[in-house]
Amino acid sequence: MHEALDEPVPGGSRWAYVFGSGLLFILVNQIVTGICLAFYYVPSADHAHATVGYMQKVVWGGRFIRGLHAYGSSLMIVLLLLHLAQTFLYGAYKNRRELLWMAGCVLFLLVLGMGFTGYLLPWDRRAYFATAVGTNILAEVPFVGGFLKAFLRAGPDMGTLTLSRFYVLHVFVIPALIFVLIAAHVFFFRQAGAAGPPLRPEEREKLPTEPFFPMQVLKDFLCGMLLILGLFLLSALRPVTLGPIASPADSTYVPRPEWYYLPAFQWLKYWSGSGILVGIVVIPLLLFALLLGIPFLDRSPERRPRRRLLPVLGLALVGVGVVSLGFQSAWEDRRDPAVHAKLAAQEAAEEEYNRAPFEPRELAPAGAAAVAAKLSPAAAKGALLFENEGCSGCHGASGHGAGGLIPLDGIGSQPAAALQALLRKPQGKMVEGGMEPSRLSDAELAQLVAFLREALKDKK
């Protein structure tokens, strides 16, 4: 701890260095609010949307906590990009910082993965269709694409198993990897020390150093406070919304991903046919390989951006390209009146749903009540007798046994009089099993027998 605080910062503290610790502040926010959300969330297609709606509309402060988590994820992407750009421009991946840089690149992918997996979890229309498109992209990968998509969706369609997988990835797998990589990232940082400003090595060596604490810590701290304040204000003033539940049948829905996936979304429009492989596999992989491998390509000790035109221009080109793709996507949606109107209508529907009071999810009646719903009135009364007289204790909720209980399937094929006689005076194995003579009135016994004859007619 003391070592970390006294870590010398060459050239003194700077505001340019705050992004890394800013990310840690947001990470803490994501963990705390994420654990909160997990208290109410159920990752299953028939409950996920209701639980998020319940949090949004019923639980105290639910909308606010969810807002902190949702806006936090966006803020994390912003900070990551700034952190990456700053490190890149300062050439801070050089001089024994290769592993530090590479761990950071992998963290970048993992955070994007968190965004992708978390986006599906509310299971509203927006989430459903954005993920439908996202997972369809995987299918374009040659050879293994079909398998990858099916594996991620747990089948050809998206459903409760998909949600379960995304949940496990979002809550267990990716966070675990993120923790490991952050540990590595911080470890490598401590090994290499702070990189300092991008000057010539001989100039940098002459620079006075300042310990990490207090000035750099103070700057990081102020930045963190500002971020938390921003998140609080955003969540309070512009609460997150939840749309109507996902409905695969709604084929008119126009899906749009979260803002940070818009460039990728737009990029895909330009590739079709055999070129699609280049567009969605070759180029993205190449770019990531370049990013990951930049410390090995840009090997000179020179760190000044002006003297490293090729990498700096490359980054600028990719940056401008990505940003303009994003704007292009937004602009196209605005320009096309049909799409524009549809998106506006979707948004209005979402806001309307969001304002409507919470409706608890109706559970289908279970056990005897469910059986009773399909029976004649006499047999329905009998079903309740079956439950209340303790019959279900030994024969299962609807007489089908299971779990070591004694099934009565097929018993209903016997004549009513025979069944009534048996219930009044149990025989052989029944007595051995502890069956007692029924003391129901004749009318009730007739109802019980009616139930047996209607519900347990067929042998298994």
Partner: protein, 185 residues
């Protein structure tokens, strides 16, 4: 934006004097602000987590049992009611049985069929003219009063009213195994 290298900077940590004072001042300041922000942040989190304990619990609905004039039998009559229950984000409707009885004064009463002992459903024994719990043989008279057995109290009466000729009941769940009646849901 940046405090460049030209700005005076501390040479070495822990040199004492002014540096040490400034360092400890900032340390205390940041710790205090962190604590304050943590405290502020813990308020929505705490509210979010304790919600189920204090969230508004609605009084149970009035549920129709049947025509009040239809309950003419002198002995207890079994009636089935549909009870709607909201548990967090799910709602369910389940059938429950209640006993419509004549109280001592002759007016209608509705009893829960749940034994106050361990919660078994209590049936009416027409041959014995008593309520006789099949589990541990608690016995109650036709108005629900405890006659014997392990039950700590008589069968639990439910709030009723007659509206437009219909007998209505509020379904309640009671704590079992205690002498004094206590509504728990």
């Amino acid at each position: 934006m940046s405090s460049g290298p030209s700005e005076p900077v501390n040479r070495e940590p822990g040199l004492g004097g002014q540096g040490a004072t400034r360092r400890s001042f900032f340390g205390v300041l940041m710790a205090a602000v962190s604590a304050a922000v943590g405290l502020v942040m813990s308020v929505p989190v705490a509210r979010f987590l304790v919600f189920p304990l204090f969230g508004s619990r609605r009084a149970s609905d009035w549920i129709e049992v049947g025509d009040a004039s239809g309950f003419v039998s002198p002995g207890p009559m079994r009636a089935e009611i549909l009870v709607r229950r909201v548990d967090g984000w799910v709602a369910s409707t389940a059938k429950r049985a209640v006993w419509v009885v004549r109280r001592e004064g002759g007016q209608l009463g509705v009893l829960s069929d749940v034994c106050p002992h361990l919660g078994c459903g209590v049936p009416w024994r027409d041959d014995e003219k008593i309520f006789h719990c099949p589990c541990h043989h608690a016995k109650f008279d036709p108005s629900g009063r405890l006659l014997g057995g392990p039950s700590p109290r008589s069968l639990d009466p439910l709030p009723i009213k007659v509206e437009n000729g219909k007998l209505m009941v509020q379904y309640q769940i009671f704590r079992n195994l205690v002498k004094t009646r206590e509504v728990i849901g």
